[in-house]
């Protein structure tokens, strides 16, 4: 589907086809973003599929994905553009004395000497694209402010060149782990989508989609346990990615059921902190059937 989607259902179905099961709100906001050409600010805990959403959208819309991974200290030279200093120098050197300074000056600040970085790349692309600005909360406020022009008008001002406007209208997603409050100015320009851990049935469907070989009963139990684990007060609650990893691990082990022993052995797949391990083993592990699965597993 290359054209803009016609309805919320179309987006939802498209996302489902490429292996992303959206909640109702996710499909709706994605649809609105395509229609209105506004960026989406996606927030939520780690591992609920924020980045995946961008990838899936790029597949659904059949557009190239341009990704800018943010980190502390990211500046415009790395994100937008940079003058190719060496090439400019060579140009000046190669020039004979005959040419006037004005001519050279005009020349070395042309697009030929511009090194484009992801955001510039996104703006100048001939084909419509999906732009993903990942983990925007990791950058400084100054960088956020710089993005404002891009997000509202889809243009970049370069002092020496003037304005570069987008040739096509990109779909923009910004993700944030909510580690820092974003500025009001940025939020105002975006649609807001909060992705949370999915409901039980929804997560069941997601795990079944990714690991269809695992027995349905095991999958259901797995999702229920994950839900229990998330209710505990952990440093890092297991995300959807971890549920899927766990399902794959269980499949490899050939587990027919999740009992206390299997749970203990595979616990490290879903819980990633020393202190969390103890809490989970203590609070969830004991609720499981102590030995039933051992025999089944040894068969595998």
């Amino acid at each position: 589907m290359a054209a803009a989607p016609e309805s919320v259902q179309a987006v939802a179905e498209g996302l489902r086809e490429v292996g992303y099961l959206p909640a109702q709100a996710t499909a709706l906001v994605s649809f609105l973003a395509c229609k209105l050409g506004k960026p989406i600010l996606v927030e939520g805990p780690a591992g609920v599929g924020k980045t995946e959403l961008a990838k899936a959208l790029s597949k659904v819309l059949d557009r190239r994905l341009v990704r800018l991974q943010c980190y502390e200290g990211l500046d415009e030279a790395k994100a937008l553009y940079e003058w190719n200093y060496r090439k400019q120098l060579l140009r000046i050197q190669a020039e004979g004395r005959a040419t006037g300074w004005d001519e050279v000056q005009d020349d070395i600040f042309s697009e030929e000497f511009l090194l484009s970085r992801p955001l510039m790349d996104a703006i100048t692309s001939e084909q419509p694209i999906v732009l993903l600005i990942d983990e925007i909360d990791k950058t400084d406020q100054e960088f956020e402010a710089m993005l404002l022009e891009l997000l509202s008008d889809f243009q970049i001002s370069i002092p020496e060149l003037g304005r570069v406007e987008a040739r096509t209208h990109p779909v923009v997603l910004l993700t944030s782990n909510n580690s820092r409050e974003l500025t009001e100015a940025l939020k105002r320009r975006c649609l807001y989508l909060w992705l949370d851990y999915p409901q039980l049935e929804h997560e069941l469907a997601i795990v079944r989609l990714h690991v269809p070989e695992l027995q349905e009963t095991v999958t259901r139990k797995l999702v229920e346990i994950i839900g229990m684990v998330r209710d505990l007060d952990l440093k890092k609650p297991p995300s959807i990615a971890e549920s899927i990893d766990w399902a794959r691990a269980l499949l490899l082990l050939g587990a027919q059921d999740i009992d206390a022993a299997v749970f203990r052995e595979t616990l490290s797949v879903i819980v990633k902190h020393r202190t969390d391990l103890d809490v989970v083993a203590e609070r969830v592990g004991v609720k499981l059937d102590p030995a039933a699965g051992l025999a089944a597993r040894s068969r595998a």
């Binding site: 906001v29 609105l32 229609k35 100054e142 807001y192």
Partner: protein, 468 residues
């Protein structure tokens, strides 16, 4: 409210006015949704079908509520506003539920087997089936309503019905084995059921009296997040963000400049020898890690228990804004907690972690300021410099111990500026074992127990007091 003209194509007349009103109410509850957001809301509503209630709500939420806290308030205001708007429209248009049905319900009430009803409600709550619960709530009102007229106060009626149904969140062991209420019903399902009862009762009342009860702002209790002190957190964060800007313009936190690397001429020249003297390779001066600029000491002893939550939230907010800061908590001795804040982003997790493993040597539970100063001096002696700012959060109650103002004076003179935020009203200063006066000679002291006073502190910071 000024009259609002409906924009082109925004739908049937009236909705735009409703939407503006709704937005107005959101603002009154503290959600910062501006005109830009409102225009966006109109734009999205043009794109969706309004017959899907969930789509309608989500589309509005995506444009109007841009954080999770805002979303919580949005949900509450949405419920309230559109419920009232619908009922108002129903009265105006004289739409009422046909008497036939309510008659049926009342009649049905005569035949309802109470035990069966109780069981079914409890079962629906365990499954969390919203639709079933709503139907059962109406049934319950019909069944219990006839036992006597309502008290006229909806809250009382809700509780009366709940008690009659025998719904409790704690397990009831005396009930038979197969009763779903035996293990207690889920607490949030119970709350939802009560909300449904309340709503149905309100609807009935509005239909009887044909007018809306007076509108009232959201209850503070409803708005507060389940965990208490977090409600203040946003306010504290705002003030601290302001503080950061102020400090920055004073040249205290000049981080902007370090973004641009400086060319190291010497090394560039040396590298240019390879290219025949043409500096084709630029060499930059390496960026040196800068020393922490802000030191915060926070008293967490029992005498400031009520204030320390506030202080911790100030500390938490400061950490969000300043990357270059070190923080300490103290009671009898001092303990650095910079890495706790680095590790934990969530306020609740932070306060728990500090309570658990901050390692404050807390033998008597009484603050020993003298000891704290000498330990603090040992810890940071080499790092204090005239551009550093020291902020102390504490009540200056020494429990009769030596205040050691001399060490404090040394710390204050080594640092550029020293501030003291005292959680007690100024009236109590220097009474009892409070020795704030001895410290005040070496620093600026502020009373600070509300976010408003925190803002005053921020304002005071901008006054050029330390011109020298």
């Amino acid at each position: 409210m000024p009259p609002v003209r409906a924009p082109e194509g925004a739908g049937p007349p009236g909705i735009s006015a409703r939407l503006v009103e709704f937005c107005e109410q959101l603002r009154r509850e503290g959600v910062g949704s501006g005109t830009a957001e409102l225009l966006d809301a109109f734009a999205v509503l043009a794109q969706i079908t309004w017959t899907e209630p969930q789509d309608f709500r989500e589309a509005l939420a995506a444009t109007l509520a841009k954080s999770q806290e805002d979303r919580r308030i949005f949900e509450l205001v949405f419920e309230r506003y559109f419920f009232r708007a619908t009922e108002a429209a129903a009265i105006r248009e004289n739409v009422r539920e046909s008497n036939q049905t309510s008659g049926d319900l009342a009649e049905l009430g005569e035949y309802i087997d109470f035990d069966e009803l109780r069981r079914r409600i409890a079962a629906a709550m365990r499954e969390g089936a919203e639709g079933t619960m709503r139907d059962l709530a109406r049934l319950a009102i019909a069944a219990f309503g006839r036992q006597g007229e309502g008290s006229g106060v909806i809250g009382v009626d809700v509780q009366r019905i709940r008690r009659a149904l025998g719904l409790r969140s704690e397990p009831q062991r005396d009930l038979p084995e197969d009763d779903p209420r035996r293990d207690g019903v889920p607490r949030d399902a119970l709350r939802r059921f009560e909300a449904l009862l309340r709503r149905e009762l309100e609807r009935g009342q509005i239909e009887r009296t044909e007018k809306l009860p007076p509108s009232r702002p959201l209850n503070e209790l409803d708005r507060a997040l389940p965990s208490g002190p977090l409600q203040d957190l946003a306010a504290v964060h705002r003030v601290v963000a302001q503080l950061k800007r102020r400090l920055k313009t004073q040249g205290q936190e000049n981080r902007g400049h370090s973004h641009h690397a400086h060319v190291d001429v010497r090394r560039t020249m040396r590298a240019s020898l390879q290219t025949g003297g043409v500096p084709a390779q630029l060499r930059f001066k390496p960026v040196r890690p800068r020393r922490p600029e802000i030191y915060v000491l926070c008293d967490v002893s029992t005498s400031v228990t009520s204030a320390s939550v506030f202080f911790l939230s100030v500390l938490h907010a400061l950490h969000d804004s300043f990357r270059k800061m070190r923080s300490f908590v103290f009671i009898e001795r001092i303990s650095e907690v910079t890495d706790v804040f680095g590790r934990e982003r969530d306020f609740r997790a932070v306060s728990e972690a500090i309570g658990r493993d901050a390692g404050v040597a807390d033998i008597s539970g009484y603050t020993d300021y003298g000891r704290v100063w000498s330990e603090f001096r040992t810890l940071v002696e080499d790092e204090l410099h005239p551009r550093a700012t020291v902020i102390v959060l504490g009540d200056a109650r020494t429990n009769g111990r030596d205040p050691r103002a001399d060490i404090f004076a040394q710390v204050a003179s080594a640092a550029g500026r020293t501030f003291w935020l005292n959680p007690e009203p100024r009236l109590y200063w220097n009474y009892g074992d409070s020795v704030i006066a001895t410290y005040e000679r070496h620093c600026q002291a502020f009373e600070c127990w509300t976010t408003g006073q925190l803002e005053d502190f921020v304002k005071a910071l901008t006054r050029p007091v330390h011109a020298a």
